[in-house]
């Protein structure tokens, strides 16, 4: 009985909580692909998917079944274990980060003290899936894509780190729930607007989204690092990439848009429960991801590096100093 109470019941609860996060997340990923195709279609005066199911709503599942039914191809020159581990790693990393994201007050799987650092660590590991895939494929296109992506993701992580430090200075805690609670009076997107913009652009680069999608630049590298992947191994990369987009949007919502908090704490707004606000904010940021993709051409590689190291890094470093200075000068340090 004690064994049941001490080990089995808590494990079962944790597994149930994990499922409660992962299943909606995967549905969200499926419908993000649909959302993306519809939004970009609307921006380009097309109709987008409209054949499978009403309004094309079953299109993501049709795509999923198609990918499952295809043959998994292992290139003969590939390093088999690393080749198969890379998509798994990408997918796992995109899921485990959700453990610390707070959906409402107290509604979080692991409310750890170093939540922001955990998120930062997990997002900095995303590069391994890409670099391992590129190397193990034993193909020059995949390898070039992986090298580009390694340099790109490491560069933009630096400015993301400084942006996070600025937010932390205003909060005085590394716990994500504390960060959201600190935004009760004003969302950090308003006082830290430049940092918000830098974070969003760096998030685009970190998730390899257009206009920074050089690692998969189809016009010169075919499909970049996952050119040799097919069927489910490709689908795992795809799922991981879109789950990462949702994760970065979630991070933006937590750090700058007040997480689960309503925009105004008055009657019609605070009737809506916190998780719905959080989902709406994520959807809002995701719309920007798609909007950018439909609008901007791809960056050239040297311009990408220039933006990261010569523009964002000095600017975010300056803002860390300015924020710290203002906080100390007005005695606002939390």
């Amino acid at each position: 009985m004690t064994f049941l109470d001490t080990y089995v019941v808590p494990t079962a609860i944790i597994v149930a909580q994990i499922l409660a996060i992962v299943v909606p997340l995967l549905v969200a990923v499926a419908y993000l692909t649909y959302f993306e195709r519809k939004v970009i279609a609307a921006m380009q005066l097309r109709k987008g998917p409209n054949v499978v199911g009403p309004f094309g709503l079953l299109q993501p599942f049709a795509d999923g079944v198609k990918l499952l039914a295809k043959e998994t191809i292992l290139p003969s020159g590939a390093n088999k274990i690393v080749f198969l581990a890379a998509p798994m790693l990408t997918f796992i990393l995109s899921l485990i980060a959700w453990a610390v994201i707070p959906f409402d007050a107290g509604m979080v799987l692991a409310d750890i003290n170093v939540g922001v650092l955990y998120l930062f660590a997990i997002s900095s590991l995303g590069v391994y899936g890409v670099i391992m895939a590129g190397w193990a494929s034993n193909s020059k296109y995949a390898f070039l894509g992986a090298l580009r992506s390694a340099a790109q993701m490491v560069s933009y992580e630096v400015s993301i780190g400084f942006v996070i430090i600025t937010v932390l200075l205003c909060v005085g805690s590394l716990n994500l729930s504390d960060i959201v609670e600190a935004q009760r009076t004003v969302w950090f997107a308003i006082p830290l607007l430049p940092m918000f913009v830098i974070f969003f652009v760096s998030a685009l680069a970190e998730t390899n989204r257009s206009p920074f999608d050089l690692p998969e630049g189809e016009s010169e590298l075919v499909a970049g690092y996952f050119v040799e992947y097919s069927s489910m191994s490709f689908a795992l990369f795809f799922l991981g990439e879109y789950a990462n987009m949702i994760l970065m949007s979630g991070m933006t919502a937590v750090l700058f848009l007040g997480g689960w908090l309503p925009p105004f704490d008055i009657a019609p707004f605070n009737w809506i429960p916190g998780p719905i606000w959080f989902a709406l904010k994520i959807a809002f940021v995701l719309f920007f991801f798609l909007w950018v993709r439909a609008t901007f051409p791809r960056y050239r590689y040297d311009q990408l590096m220039r933006l990261g190291w010569k523009v964002f890094l000095p600017l975010s470093l300056l803002w860390v100093v300015v924020t710290a200075g203002v906080l100390v000068a007005f005695d606002w340090v939390p």
Binding site: N113, V114, F120
Partner: protein, 204 residues
């Protein structure tokens, strides 16, 4: 406690095993990947000890940045594995000698290790008390007050290392056409675009 002990042995065993694989695997890329696994398990051990800040910093700095650059370099190397194995016997004595010297130094260091007099008291009653503070606050409080000069000195040393690396690798080459962003942004459409009325069949 049983679960904690089991997890400890899991992390420790995987860390030691992957450490051994780092030096025994034939492919250098596999070595780096095993090194990353070892870092991960070390981070897991830190978490078990309640040092969550150190664990996360280990992952961010070593796994997220240093090992990526390491992997980057190792992947770019053009290595002939047969050639790599050839000198093994010839260099074995030198390698063994260096290993022995390092081992002797380690033994000497740990043998002559003295614990500072205040440490036992600090361990029994830490200031601030463990229950009241997170270890991020505790580390920050110590690092920016008592050890602030050492901390700044460490930063300066890293800065010098960075400048050194840049000085060693920076070379200005002749005849490279660089993009001047300022000049490009200063261009106005009136100055560089000419609208021409093209007559049919006449060309420009």
């Amino acid at each position: 406690m049983v679960v904690q002990a089991l997890v400890f042995y899991l992390f420790a065993a995987v860390a030691v095993a992957s450490g051994a694989m780092v030096i025994t695997s034939r492919n250098p890329v596999h070595s780096v990947l095993f090194l990353i696994l070892a870092f991960f398990n070390a981070a897991g051990l830190f978490v078990l000890m309640g040092a969550e800040f150190l664990a996360m910093i280990l992952v961010v700095v070593y796994v997220g940045a240093v090992a990526v650059l390491f992997l980057f370099v190792v992947m770019m190397l053009d290595i002939n594995f047969v050639e790599l194995r050839q000198g093994f016997i010839r260099y074995l004595p030198v390698g063994a000698a260096i290993g022995l010297v390092l081992l002797a130094e380690l033994v000497l260091v740990t043998g002559a290790w003295t614990v500072a007099p205040g440490v036992p008291d600090a361990l029994t009653a830490p200031v601030p008390p463990v229950a009241e503070t997170t270890n991020t606050h505790a580390l920050g409080g110590l690092l920016y007050t008592r050890y602030v000069y050492l901390f700044q000195a460490a930063g300066l040393i890293l800065l010098i290392a960075m400048i050194g690396a840049i000085v060693l690798t920076l070379r200005s080459r002749e005849g490279v056409r660089r993009q001047s962003i300022e000049a490009q942004n200063a261009r106005r459409p009136e100055e560089v675009v000419e609208v021409v009325k093209v007559t049919r069949g006449g060309g420009v």
